[in-house]
């Protein structure tokens, strides 16, 4: 993902990731790999919206290192516990990003990392709760070759 940058020549152009050639679209193949990864994680169970939130910049400053945060609304106590959260990037050739595992010492089921995004795409996160339910959220991040600030 830090490949050739020989095409970078145009004005105002600051490609975060070199692989910008597929603009603004997520190919079906990658998206279905994401669906497969979610199904493998949930065992086919339904992942509801709510409880989980993905935070990411609207536009990546640098596609090679995009800060993302996942946070799950949970008391992290007793049965109200998040076991793990899987994070996927649905426009990368391999959608897997990371799996976060929390514990009773985690005061909040929230964590951040930085990821590589090959193109404009969604960061998808799915939380597995101790009671066997799943929650899902997604956030679109634009990876751009840049505009011209006024």
């Amino acid at each position: 993902m830090t490949g050739s940058v020989s095409r970078r020549g145009a004005l105002c152009i600051g490609m975060g990731a070199a692989a910008v050639v597929t603009l603004g679209r997520v190919t079906v193949a990658f998206a279905s790999a994401t669906d497969d990864a979610i199904a493998a994680f949930t065992g086919g169970a339904d992942a509801k919206s709510g409880k989980i939130a993905v935070t990411a910049p609207e536009i990546a400053e640098n596609g090679n290192t995009v800060p993302i945060e996942v946070a799950v609304d949970s008391a992290m106590d007793g049965d109200d516990m998040v076991e793990e959260v899987i994070i996927l990037a649905d426009g990368n050739p391999n959608p897997g990003v990371a799996t976060f595992k929390f514990s009773p010492l985690s005061a909040e089921a929230a964590a951040s990392t930085r990821v590589r995004l090959a193109q404009t795409q969604n960061i998808v996160a799915v939380a597995k709760m101790k009671d066997g339910t799943f929650y899902q959220d997604a956030r679109s991040v634009k990876v751009t070759i840049g505009g011209c600030g006024g």
Binding site: G96, A98, K101, L105
Partner: protein, 109 residues
Amino acid sequence: MAKIKPRVKVPKKADIGEIITIKTLISHPMESGQRKDKKTGETIPRNIVNSFTASFNGEPVFEAVVEPAVSANPYFEFQMRVPAAGEMAFKWIADDGEVYETSKKIKVG
């Protein structure tokens, strides 16, 4: 390769029950296994930090299973409710078998 050194930010002191934020960084190229060597044209073998764990007085706090899509110099930020004084231990494991470790003491009161 430059010496790989983890860095962590942990409050030195906290109250019991206080929620603290912990930030960690490790300088590592996170070689994805997708890149080709410009001179030889051969694929550079994958070598990423594939696992990160943080524990407190031996109890797990936070763990990440890591894929190549995590950026070079992997960064993790998470929270902990401080149960007592003690030591926070951090461990990064890379594909090449290298294990990087560091720890920080937290006082209470």
